[in-house]
Symmetry: D2
Subunit: 381 residues, 4 copies
């Protein structure tokens, strides 16, 4: 069913993300930021009471007790949702996404793509079969200066790529947590819900995607050393990885959820034969450009010296800080634009991670886990 | 007329802010961010065609050719707007705000309060007479770390206040601009629309308000040196001011719109007998606390060590940068909460600048202009 | 008497600066850093025992009980000192410097030049009459990036100078101190030894000199507000000053010795019609250049993009931090080069502050003190 | 022969480091900084003319055409040198050091210890046999904040060590260099003079030593990926290494001499169960302490909150930047103190890297080279 989407805000439905789940509110704020969509329906929690209370708190028009019911009902309504957002723990990504896709409803899904590699591969098939839009929220690629970095490299500004250093350090899992007290932590440290990887899946995959996105080339092989520092933990909470890129670059990827004092320190440095680039998520509006033999230059979100790609991702003049939500909303803006194009019979233009990026992320996780399990042996990706 | 506001998003109407005006989009994104309000109507431009095109682009339900018509029509509708947002050039603040207030519609208004001191005083009277909510968007006080700074001072953490250094430096008016090409600049350098002050009114008043907000005490007197650096300019584009605060503190206020290379560099340092504080709008998620004889401490938006005031103003965990829009939306959140309280017969709790703050800002502007006109003489405020 | 200075290290004599006086050791390390001079004699303290113990600790060849004796004896020796260094409290600058100058011995002297304006003027006369080298240690002008900033402005790189912001904030006098326990603080807060100004003389004059040095233009007039925050203090410990420069620039100068948490925060920003510059003493190896409409550029000590002036002041490759002592030694290097030139009958090339700079500093102090005493009135300098 | 060293500056002799060699001047400035030693003799170059000209430029008392002659002659003089400094390319470290040690003259030597592992082992034996002081200039451990970091960890302040990230990035070898034009580069890229490692030996060994020094524990095993990015280069110019520490910590070591835009970016982060630490050589006066659940604290050289170890390594009050030379001179200060102790028959107190540290560094280099040669296999150290 093709609905007319002209002249109105699109309607979104959210699965998961109810009270106590940080990411649900993020999706709501991000998808609505540009005034191009509104969350109207939700199955916000596996617990029906929480689901309803959360939906009421957000003034949603329709609340469902299960995602299955939501998929069925929304598909049947003339004013049903135009797309679904999946913000559940990892093990539910595949069944929930499939439920909506099978009803003809496009999906925006949290990362990593799935709980396991087979689930991920099955999901790719569903997406390909249905031909529907499927976007994965590697949200950090929505930052204007990330897009600027990618564009500068694409244009050859750094010359031949040589070295990459990508890091993602947090500390919120530095201690053994009481699962009852921390809903977000509980499922992330549980292999049944998170999957084969802990830190490597939760944030390492962000780092891998960011690197490949900006560098414009893929990791060819890796040698990983994953650790469980917190006693009793079943999944890794820290990883150190050597990388070799297709085309010759080398580097390291370090991620940790036990790096005491770090909040959400995702950062990347890329060095080529002609220049280096440096970006940090916690001060996202600055991109350092380090041309050979010249002073560093400080590029800024909203600045007039940016490429078209960098400028389009910004909403405000330079000096008016844009943050996490704005970057997240850049992905949604591209998704919504493609949904409108599809409704008008036009082809997709992209600008957001796809199911194939998600599958690649799963392969990265699997390779890192396997490399480490074998004592730190090189694995091709 | 008291409308029931329970269980629904409030309805807002926007005056000004159509295409090409940066601040209109800011208001729309900020007021809608928390999912507690939606812009449904607008008189977005004095030019009816621009007004309609802008309204359509934002999917507004109702577009008006004039604010007068909008005030009248919305007041008459059962589902009319719950409040109006005034995002026009300064000379229209008073007439537009008055038009809505007289129809019983609360108002959120851009700063400075008015074009002239008499207009400002008249507006205060209208607000007091109608008893309606009136909020002024000194948006920088919405930043979590600004609220944290204020709270730390209120608690006595810096001891006896001694010295303040507040600055607001931009460069976007560093050259004479073609008015046709830059709509935002054009009215700001025109005394007929901006009022008696240029830079001192446009951003100096932000600095004054921020200082008084955080310090919790008022400027008692000032000695100002205002300059028009760009040839042909009719209003100041730079100001250097000495300050004496009620209760004994001293300091400087510097603002400029010709400070080459600066984007939106609002910053403040406050020193007391027991500690200092430092905050910069362009890296808004960090507040430096400098206790006597101890290492500096870096307080962070979303951090667990903040006061209740600081925590409540944040939406995301630490390390997920919040920016300009989020801070702006903190004011709206407080406004909307008070509108809901009023609808339920409850008293206001504040948390946003009022018409009296606006009047004080106008007096600051007038004092600075007059002090400078007299060659830099001290004036009581 | 002209001594041959070729092929050997010069011999220096130090007055003041014995044990417990931070600045004596600084002079010794700085003057010897380049291997072009050695401190061989001293009258290191008014207390003979301290003087001798300090001299022994430094392995000095000759220790004197008084500067008068030292001047007499050294002037008489064939291997006497080539120049004297005056590192005493302010009230002794004039008599000590005069004693050596009258014996034909050049002088390097701490700032401010003297205890009072008449002393300063008298000292100028002695220097002019003797024709000997006299250098004043406004050491901060020895930093490579300060020299680079000056050169960039001299070349016109910032266009027409518009605005300056110069600051010097410390906190070491934030409390009333026990004079017995803190020798350095004791004389600085005592009008009999420090002179008419406290903070304004001790560090304000550094800020004034740095500004005029970099900007290449002089303060034409000022309006000052000096404060004694610490109860019982007889001299100012904080100052806020409006500045008007010759040629049209405006600005502020803020200095404080009670700014809680600040160590030695001397910094300057200068804005012109084409670019801005920013430098901070506590990270002295970086100079920010902010060209209009372009990204900020980060110039670095030792970098290959610097001017000859900037390069000559550096000793190490970029990335090998140079600090306070190295900058101080840049002044000494220029002094020693001029002493060698004089010994060879060549003219001076400068590169260090002179007695005239010192007199100007005294006038600045006097003007600031007087302006403030009159309630903050504008004074020409 | 035991000379009396009381009451005088010690006499040093320098081998290598003549004109055009950056490190010779560094040694001279560093060894003389505290006024406790003076360079009086030198064999500054293999080219006798350069040697003599360099010695004259530094006003040295005695210049030799060869280090052999210098060792013989100085050992024979009553006023001969008290110790020798070896600042030659790597392949000469062993023969030069041995020549002096065999004559009873203590040695301070540049890193890495030797050209090859056998040379290094032989040198250890000479040192042990002679019982003389031998110090290796891993100069970065002389920084006050490095000593502070070590002490904080020693005291248990970071809890159980978990993760280390150590980096040393430069770009001065980013292009193929003309050996004639760059004397310092020429020998470093020549296996005959540099040894088995390029970047890994020149700066990687600094990073390894710094890490083990601060962490207080040793690298147990490593997995290295070394690269020669510049065409035609015979030795590695970049390395990425996984580390496992004795006692359980993990981490990465990255070093590069082709990281475009980096000057001398040595930095380290260490995370434990209770706190993290971060230090960067290019801003050496700040140490960030990141205690779990509390704001970051900024410790500063010269600050009053430091440990005795941190305070003793500083020469100036906080806010007066100390740099590369000052840190280098901290090693010399400890060396000279031990030389004086030895002259008085007292035992050594250390405070500088030893020949055993040097041997360990050589083993690190060898392990990294071998690990990489085998395709990135784990090697025990």
């Amino acid at each position: 069913m093709k609905r007319n989407m002209d002249g109105r805000r699109l309607r979104a439905g959210l699965v998961g993300g109810g009270r106590g789940a940080f990411i649900g509110a993020v999706h709501r704020m991000a998808v609505e930021l540009d005034g191009e969509a509104e969350v109207v329906a939700g199955a916000l929690s596996a617990d029906p009471q929480t689901a309803r209370a959360s939906a009421a708190a957000w003034h949603l028009q329709r609340s469902y007790d299960s995602y299955q019911e939501m998929a069925r009902a929304e598909a049947a309504r003339a004013d049903g949702i135009d797309f679904a957002i999946v913000a559940t723990p990892n093990h539910l990504h595949y069944p929930v996404a499939r439920a909506f896709l099978e009803k003809g409803i496009p999906v925006v899904c949290d990362k990593p793509l799935a709980h396991s590699l087979p689930d991920a591969e099955a999901l790719v098939q569903v997406v390909e079969r249905t031909g529907l839009l499927f976007a994965l929220t590697h949200n950090y690629t929505g930052y204007p200066m990330v897009r600027e970095a990618r564009e500068r490299i694409r244009r050859g500004e750094i010359g031949e790529l040589r070295k990459v250093v990508v890091e993602y350090h947090q500390d919120w899992l530095k201690d053994a947590l009481d699962p009852a007290a921390n809903k977000q932590a509980a499922w992330r440290v549980d292999p049944n819900r998170a999957g084969m990887g802990g830190c490597i899946a939760d944030i390492g995959s962000h780092a891998q995607h960011l690197l490949e996105y900006i560098a414009g080339r893929k990791i060819a092989s890796l040698c990983a050393d994953l650790t469980r520092f917190v006693p009793g933990r079943l999944l890794d909470d820290d990883a150190n990885i050597l990388l070799r890129l297709e085309g010759g670059g080398k580097g390291t990827l370090s991620c940790s959820q036990v790096a005491c004092g770090e909040e959400n320190a995702l950062g990347i440095r890329i060095y080529g034969s002609k220049a280096g680039l440096e970006w940090h998520q916690q001060e996202p509006n600055t991109l350092l450009l380090k041309p050979a033999g010249e002073p560093w230059r400080r590029l800024r979100t909203g600045g007039s010296q940016l490429s078209a790609e960098g400028q389009q991702a910004a909403r405000l003049p330079a000096g008016h800080p844009e943050g996490y939500l704005e970057a997240f909303a850049v992905l949604y803006r591209a998704v919504i634009a493609d949904l409108r194009r599809a409704a008008n019979g036009q082809g997709a233009q992209g600008g957001y991670p796809t199911v194939h990026d998600g599958l690649r992320g799963m392969r990265f996780i699997a390779a890192a886990v396997e490399s480490s399990a074998q004592g730190g042996r090189w694995f091709d990706l």
